[in-house]
């Protein structure tokens, strides 16, 4: 069954995107990629550190993977645009995850600045994927501004708390005409499966994998969870009922006298 995620005109058979941050060693990245089946990985843009050449993530990400640079570190639209342009200059494509953060406790994204950056970058031909709070109205505005997808959070970044914003995510999924990628807050494979069952088009997972005792095994668990959730969504679950509905026949019991 062909069931691709289409982003920026590119088809992805995997609906699990993984981050590359906070791993104990960057040498884990190829193993994470193989175990997760991810075809897109996020990176950040930072000053080079000549004393730590191993930080250069492009030396660890295998060829063929779509690079999704983020604009982390940006505090307003202007800084996000600057980082996006630098990221594109690296020559790894036009994908950009807009991330504009001003709240340092919960790392919540700034919707107005994100929208402003999205409008500019979409006009410049970027494939714009904005990281946002789960706000259905903002999602509509981002679509109109040319976003290729929306990336609402499930819970604060790195909190591993799961789908705390589930009702809002459902509203977004119901209304969105661009792919919905649930980003941030997913802590366990069951959370990823839940998001996919709701109808999310993909999930982005970083901390839940990098903070696991066995990140490679956890990558595999997430891959299976995302697939299970997606298939569950496509299969369309039966309606919930308030009382029991027997699964076995209610006739032909042993020891019961026939009526005639």
């Amino acid at each position: 069954m062909q069931d691709n995620l289409i982003l920026g005109g590119k088809a992805f058979s995997s609906r699990l995107l993984t981050g590359t941050g906070k791993f104990s060693s960057p040498r884990l990245i190829p193993k994470i990629l193989a175990a997760s089946g991810a075809q897109m990985m996020t990176v950040a843009v930072r000053r080079v550190n000549p004393d730590k050449p191993e930080e250069d993530m492009l030396t660890h990400i295998p060829a063929g993977v779509t690079i999704l640079p983020n604009t982390s570190g940006a505090r307003n639209a202007q800084e996000a645009v600057r980082i996006a342009r630098i990221a594109r200059e690296m020559g790894c494509g036009d994908f950009i995850k807009i991330e504009v953060i001003t709240d340092m406790k919960y790392l919540l994204p700034d919707g107005a600045e994100t929208l402003a950056a999205a409008a500019i970058l979409a006009k410049e031909g970027f494939v714009v994927l904005p990281y946002i709070q789960p706000d259905p109205v903002l999602c509509r505005q981002l679509e109109a501004a040319g976003a290729a997808a929306v990336m609402p959070l499930a819970a604060p970044i790195g909190s591993l708390r799961g789908l705390r914003c589930r009702d809002m995510l459902e509203m977004i999924i119901e209304a969105s005409s661009v792919p919905v990628i649930v980003d941030a807050g997913i802590g366990r494979p069951s959370h990823a499966a839940e998001a996919m069952e709701l109808g999310a088009d993909a999930v982005l997972v970083n901390t839940a994998i990098s903070a696991a005792e066995d990140p490679v095994l956890m990558s595999r668990a997430f891959a299976l969870a995302v697939q299970a959730g997606r298939l569950g969504y496509l299969a369309k679950a039966g309606a919930e009922r308030p009382v029991a509905v027997a699964s076995s026949p209610l006739t032909g019991f042993l020891g019961v006298a026939h009526a005639n």
Binding site: G19, T20, A44, V45, V48, E55, D56, L58, I86, M90
Partner: protein
């Protein structure tokens, strides 16, 4: 000798181009992007772009992130 700022640190060197600066720092040219005074310098221009007194240079790469 001229003095300029690279990634927030002041450096004094003999006159050099962007390309020569990267070579001196042993940075892989295909995996960095260079900003000079806030404007991106395209790769084909690195050889001919000379650093000047007081310039601000940013050399960036992709690192791990979510």
């Amino acid at each position: 000798m001229i003095s300029f700022c690279v990634n927030g640190k002041r450096e004094s060197r003999s006159a050099c181009s962007v390309l020569e600066l990267l070579a001196k720092k042993q940075l892989a040219p295909e995996r960095v992007v260079v900003e000079l005074n806030g404007a991106i310098v395209k790769r084909p221009q690195w050889g001919e772009t000379m650093l000047r007194e007081g310039d601000t240079v940013e050399i960036v790469c992709f690192v791990g992130g979510g």
